[in-house]
């Protein structure tokens, strides 16, 4: 499975946290950002509501993750904490649907920490590769 499977992952990222590198996909790729991750910048991770995350999964994403500021240092005070709760909510939904909760994750990072950003993407791609394609993919 993992030999031919090319993961399709969507990442919703706080614009404030990734301000210094996300606009340069070429540079990111050069620095080791993995293939298969589509980055969607948002004004705050707390702006990503449950429906948006579910819709990404419904559309067939093999994995979805949210990147927000460090929990206690969110630029918008509690945005990343809210995002974390929404990700947890969706984990429960996935469980009830008989899907793997690991298909959604929440990550936190310091502002501008490109290395950590790449590390998170690699971690997510690794998780999704182990899980295999989403059962909603291509349907």
């Amino acid at each position: 499975m993992s030999g031919t499977f090319k993961p399709d992952v969507t990442a919703f990222c706080c614009r404030y946290a990734v301000y210094n590198f996300a606009e340069d996909p070429g540079g990111l790729a050069e620095a080791g950002f993995p293939e298969g991750v589509k980055v969607e910048q948002v004004s705050c991770s707390g702006r990503v509501d449950v429906v948006r995350l579910l819709k990404a999964l419904e559309a067939g994403a093999d994995g979805v993750y949210v990147v927000g500021c460090e929990e206690e240092k969110c630029h918008n005070v509690a945005g990343s904490q809210r995002a974390k709760k929404r990700a947890e909510y969706i984990k429960d939904v996935l469980l009830q649907l008989g899907m793997e909760p690991e298909r959604i994750e929440m990550f936190f990072m310091s502002r501008g920490d490109e290395a950590r950003f790449i590390e998170m993407a690699r971690e997510m791609i690794g998780k999704v590769k182990a899980l295999g394609p989403s059962p909603l993919r291509g349907k």
Binding site: V51, L54, K55, L57, E58, Q96, L97, M99, L136, K139
Partner: protein, 222 residues
């Protein structure tokens, strides 16, 4: 407000098993305020249902609509032209809305997506608690505005039971003893003398125990 919460997803999915065309019907009243059955929750549930069917490879058409209220005929009547096309309507209103939907559309399968819990308040964001039991004969004037019917676990009318410890109810340390609250409040209002009055046996005939209730206001009828 009437406070409700969504049923477990598995229960809802089992309820609509085999149905091909479903209307998820929200309500902009109480259940929107308590984040159980408004426009946003309709979109979430409809998406979850589509995900489930996609996973199973079973086709489904899920429509979404949210009415101003499901407990008034003028809003439910807005469905009259379209409701016949659905195999079922999954109502995200409180039980009142589901009942009224079933009353008004005898040929429509009306299903509840929520569990209706109580008449309550929002203590803080994400926390609701019961305040009124709809007993039909309010005595809040005698109890400092705090209800022993809804908030005493035993529904006692003349003071606390022996299980009141440090202001908490014996059934849970998280539940305040309402009789302690009543005492403290009346004391603060210099109205402790109200507790000297022994409350008479309550007429439960006007509560749900007396059968389904109805109010008719001739002054308002057309």
């Amino acid at each position: 407000m009437i406070v409700a919460e969504r049923k477990p997803i598995k229960e809802i999915i089992s309820m609509i098993n085999g149905l091909r065309k479903i209307l998820v019907l929200g309500c902009k009243g109480c259940v929107t305020v308590c984040s159980a059955g408004g426009e946003r929750e309709v979109e979430i549930l409809a998406t979850i249902i589509r995900m489930d069917r996609k996973k199973k490879g079973e086709p489904v058409e899920v429509m979404e609509r949210t009415l101003v209220r499901q407990c008034d005929p003028e809003y439910l009547d807005l469905l009259s032209d379209s409701i016949g096309q659905f195999d079922a309507v999954l109502s995200m209103a409180c039980g009142v809305g589901v009942n009224f939907l079933a009353d008004r559309y005898p040929k429509t399968v009306a299903l509840p997506a929520l569990n209706t819990k109580f008449y309550g308040v929002a203590e803080e964001q994400g926390v609701w608690s019961e305040r009124c039991a709809g007993c039909g004969d309010c005595i809040l004037n005698l109890t400092g505005g705090l209800c022993p019917v809804a908030r005493c676990s035993k529904g006692l009318f003349n003071g606390p039971c022996g299980g009141s410890v440090n202001g908490k109810c014996e059934i849970s340390p998280d539940i305040p003893c309402v009789w302690q609250l009543i005492y403290d409040r009346l004391k603060g209002l210099n109205q402790l003398d109200k507790l000297d009055e022994v409350l008479p046996v309550k007429d439960w005939g006007v509560s749900p125990h007396g059968g389904p209730r109805k109010i008719v206001r001739e002054d308002l009828k057309i």
